[in-house]
Symmetry: C3
Subunit: 355 residues, 3 copies
């Protein structure tokens, strides 16, 4: 079995990712050809947690395809947030809309919602868990700007421990030939072990660094992320290190001429504003690539019958997920869906191990 | 005189209700025929009180007719809620939009707003007073699923005292031949006396019940509503009775094969989730029928010159309505409009008696 | 150099204002001719401060031109309000939309935002600083209803000190031949000195008044504005004067038959409701004229290559603006742009003098 729901980028094959990139490029080249591609179709953007930029990106994508949008962005005001189950809301909205894009603060909510939507479903972020269309934006940008997804030396700088977009990007790029990674962060904010496992399994080269300036010179790509003060071990540690992970003109001077700088945005202080006009600074253009990637995604989900995403083999088990941040802790009717990974039972919603 | 405002379903004749149902069915059968029916038209959805589901239903209805929507859903942020009178807002929005759908927390606000809108006006709920398009959804569902609006045995279960949708449904169905009602609730939450008067006047059979299980077996329709804990006489009373009015598999097993279950939604605990897949469970489909009913309503109000709703004969009197929850208590400029009912002066806004 | 941004009405020549009025009239006469004028175009309405009426006016304008809209109206919920700089938000939204309309609570934010938008930009109010499209609405109304913008005796009543729309209207009308002004307010709320300078410079006749009743009889136009209780010198002063600046039937009886009454709305108590039906009361129609003015503005900015607004000659200087309410106090990256006026350095964002 297969489905039309983008919950996790893992469910998309390299071939499908390639299809999506090609479609996005075709749209960029001839946007007028697609101005009526989704005439009469409705996208619901259900944002239980505000994310103006992501929501506007999806709305713009649908409008540029000729479709229309409904939805909400103010969950506190919203009646759907008052006691109604995710199942009931999705069942009803799935009757109104042709495709749903949802952001929700709870881990695993995307999988849960997709089970009842009855129409193609796109995860726009489910708590700290997954945010696949951000990674799509990154991949489309790399493909358009570097001309390839392999043979890249990619520096990733900032908070590598908590950043879901970072993990998703590493997972995606580690599948391509001869990519290597420079993981630039404090010791405390290094990538989690399971990401190292993935890198090892895919035979990717990788190295650790705690100094952006000394690592920048041979990178093809520098992916910057926000690092928050409270993530440092102590205030002293923060004061000592706060400039080490900031990209400024001085550090950029050491980079290659054709290195590109990406950032999932919003940016706070980690890239100084005087770099914005440097031709290597592509983080704003990346947001635009993301919009085209979303147009391609909507088109493929709505109109290409062969574009089906992989289903995991799941079973319903006796044990319930014990992750307190999992959607199963809040919505009682959800079945205990689980899948096997390396012999372990994993929660199908939040991907945590069920002991 | 007549008008193009749906404030109260009472103003719609049986013939008009029939027209609306037929139109809704035609749209369901050939939605593509209506995709441009409202091209260039604008619906304003003015929600002074959030109701995401109702608002999305109206927006979807207008978009599927080719029209577009403006409006607001966050009254606390809204400048229209800051000191501007209902009259001023309606006058201005009536200049922008071709039709207005409004929800407002104050009783009688719908009638008041319609007086100044200058374009067709739809009441989407005015406080605890009226909510006619919910009843339209119920009626369209019954007609499509049971094939008739008469000769039905209808059980209504839950809070029958405070539920405006319940009262409106009983009023509408009591006009059709040979319908009978089973009113299932606690003693404290039975229908108000004026509803009994209507049933008597229309020669409808009705009976009271305080036990869903024993009343379910010969119903054609079971209309469930939410019953809130604080409505019970005491906490002990609630604990004793809380399962008596919950529809579950056990009780449903006693029902007829072709009984249908309706609910105005949102549902909380009064219908167990394991019933959702039973073919008799039509509450989600009912929301979809509601959307088609709203499409038909918008079309008839905007495009059918003969579809005019009844005006009440009103006069402006000296006494002001004394209902503290009536819109006349807040908006001083409103004239003291009143109509006669059984020799009594009634407030034209909130339908309460003026003494 | 010139630009496509409407920050301040001063940048629009009389000839351009004339073009805009003509375009607005043509749209009013044949709206159907413009129903597809902006097909495929997107207007972003970014309201960092709620203003439902202005936002709905812009949305309606764009929809009636065949375009579509994205945006937000609830800044507290909005992620763009959380730490992201105006520059970053504008750069991204400028990639999505073809034209941006922004309201923001900080003075000078409009100029700052327009520098990074990359697409035509319309100021919908930047704090207490400017609100040019309100003045456009006033001008279009005068032209349509009086048939001229010159030879008018214009009374302006209420808070003339703090009202940005009042200042903007006086500046605009003082450029036309033979207009005279009656400035009706308390002593404390008279127009600021720089407005008097403008009147003097343009050889406009003007007089002061503290009594609406005695000044109304020979006016061609009465422009009413809200006067707030807390603006009076004391509570006693307020109680003594509160009816002096309220337009009621008694005072209106003394006015000319063809005088017209305008108001930027929302109205609170300064015009009694019983005047609304008087043919001279044009404040609601003014809101509609404003919508047509906005349609004309969007069209000219998007489609007329010759409709370019004047650029000021600016230089980047060493001193930063010291106005604590200026956008430069919040967004550090902004250059110290300044222009010369009567030999003084003025802040290009907030128009305050830089000492």
């Amino acid at each position: 079995m297969a489905n039309k729901n983008l919950i996790d980028l893992d469910a998309m094959s390299k071939k499908q990712l390639d299809m999506l990139i090609k479609k996005a490029k075709k749209i960029m080249e001839n946007p007028a050809d697609y101005r009526h591609a989704c005439d009469g179709k409705i996208l619901a953007t259900l944002f239980y947690e505000p994310s103006t930029r992501t929501q506007m990106s999806f709305q713009t994508a649908m409008l540029k395809l000729g479709g229309r949008t409904i939805g909400f962005d103010n969950p506190l005001n919203s009646s759907v947030a008052k006691g109604e189950s995710l199942k009931d809301t999705m069942t009803i909205v799935g009757g109104y809309a042709d495709i749903i894009a949802m952001r929700h603060p709870v881990e695993g909510s995307a999988m849960a919602a997709s089970m009842y939507a009855g129409v193609p479903f796109i995860n726009c972020g489910d708590g700290g868990h997954l945010h696949p269309t951000q990674t799509l934006a990154d991949i489309v940008t790399l493909s358009c700007e570097k001309g390839r997804l392999d043979n890249l030396k990619i520096g990733i700088c900032g908070d590598l421990l908590n950043g879901r977009t970072v993990h998703s990007l590493i997972k995606a790029l580690s599948q391509y030939d001869n990519n290597s990674f420079v993981l630039i962060s404090t010791k405390e904010l290094q990538v989690p072990l399971y990401i190292i496992d993935i890198l090892e399994k895919n035979n990717c080269k990788y190295e650790f660094s705690n100094d952006l300036a000394s690592s920048i010179s041979d990178l093809d790509v520098l992916y910057m992320t926000r690092i928050q003060q409270e993530r440092f071990a102590s205030k002293e540690e923060y004061e000592k290190q706060k400039y080490v992970f900031v990209l400024d003109k001085e550090k950029l001077a050491k980079a290659k001429e054709d290195m590109i700088i990406l950032h999932p945005l919003p940016r706070v202080n980690e890239i100084t504003v005087d770099i914005d006009d440097d031709p290597r600074a592509l983080y704003f253009k990346q947001a635009l690539y993301g919009m085209y990637g979303r147009m391609a995604l909507i088109l493929l989900l709505l109109q290409d019958d062969d574009f089906m995403l992989k289903d995991r083999e799941i079973s319903v088990i006796d044990k319930r997920c014990t992750n307190p941040r999992c959607i199963t802790a809040r919505e009682e009717y959800l079945p205990n869906r689980s899948y096997l990974k390396l012999g372990m039972q994993m929660c199908d919603y939040c991907d945590k191990r069920i002991d």
